[in-house]
């Protein structure tokens, strides 16, 4: 299992965006969420995005946010425990999510805003499942 995708994963989390245009696009994309429900901007950097690959250990289908917990293995085989915060259940369901869409052992690619404090957490904007299906998160 790859811990992160080269160039946009954990290694990039504490670096400034390489291209100003990209940074502007990201700000435009996520700016609308800046004051969104439950102030996740306190904990996640909405101006940046990360891509993390891992293996699901559990999936909390709960309000006000669903959570995916997953293991990320580095090149030496060390496992880091990660979490991904999603939106509210009803909006997730409208976006195609279901409570049983993930189960332990599933391999996922999580894309979203990294935690400001460097902890292994992400505010999910999109997920890619092992079968290639992509789902957007919700506010």
């Amino acid at each position: 299992m790859t811990a992160l995708e080269e160039g946009e994963g954990i290694a990039m989390r504490n670096k400034p965006m390489g291209f100003p245009v990209t940074a502007v696009l990201l700000l435009l994309s996520f700016g609308a969420s800046t004051y969104a429900h439950h102030g996740f901007v306190s904990w996640f950097d909405v101006t940046r995005t990360s891509t993390v690959k891992g293996t699901v250990t559990s999936f909390d289908w709960t309000n006000p946010h669903a959570y995916i917990y997953f293991d990320v293995k580095d090149e030496k085989g060390n496992i880091e425990k990660w979490s991904a915060e999603l939106g509210a259940l009803a909006m997730l369901a409208r976006a195609g999510w279901r409570r049983d869409i993930l189960k332990p052992g599933d391999e996922i690619t999580a894309i979203g805003n990294p935690a400001k404090d460097g902890k292994p957490a992400i505010h999910l904007t999109k997920i890619v499942l092992a079968n290639g299906q992509e789902l957007s998160s919700a506010l």
Partner: protein, 228 residues
Amino acid sequence: MRNRLIFSAAAVVAMLAFSPAPRGQDAASPGSVPDISGVWLVEKFQPVLFPKGGAPLTPWAEMKLKATNPQTDDPNLACLPEGVPRFMISVPYPMEIVQGPRRVLIIHEGTSVLRQIHMGRQHPKDLDPTYAGDSVGKWEGDTLVVDSVGFNDKTWLDGGALPHTEALHVVERIRRRDHDTLVDEFTIDDPMAYTKPISAQQVYKLKPDWEIHEYVCEENNKYTYQKK
């Protein structure tokens, strides 16, 4: 538990809203006024009322705003209701309008407050301040005019922490611009906090296939409300 009670209360109120109007009370039938019922979602999420700044703050409100961190002090972090007008403008979750002869009900998916708009009565005297306040409505042609007072001061006007006092007075003009579009024009007045009334507008799109779902914010809320 609180949400279950609220939804139970909503069911009771809905039944009352559709019960026959007693003689001497509002006798308008649903068919004689415009139909604004349905599930609606904000067309454009407006997190703040003044994205470029310039809110007409009184010195009190300016001081209050400076002392507030919008990202950590939001009462909504504790799952407290957003209140009016914030949940009508700045929350990207759907609302259902249930229209009866004596009351128009607004059930919002992302807040724990059922909003009742009472048709054909005045505001009671000596209102106890609440999150939803007291709303009364009347039809002016194709427009539902809603007058709301009786708010507590525990909410913000928007996601940017604009404060208000218990003197908050909100007037809304709600009309169905076309079959799929609802427009709500707000006049927000609070002389204690603002030097002049604030005008705002929100546009909602009809979601004919959607239903309002349960949203129990307290179930697994991991955020901490730091402003006590």
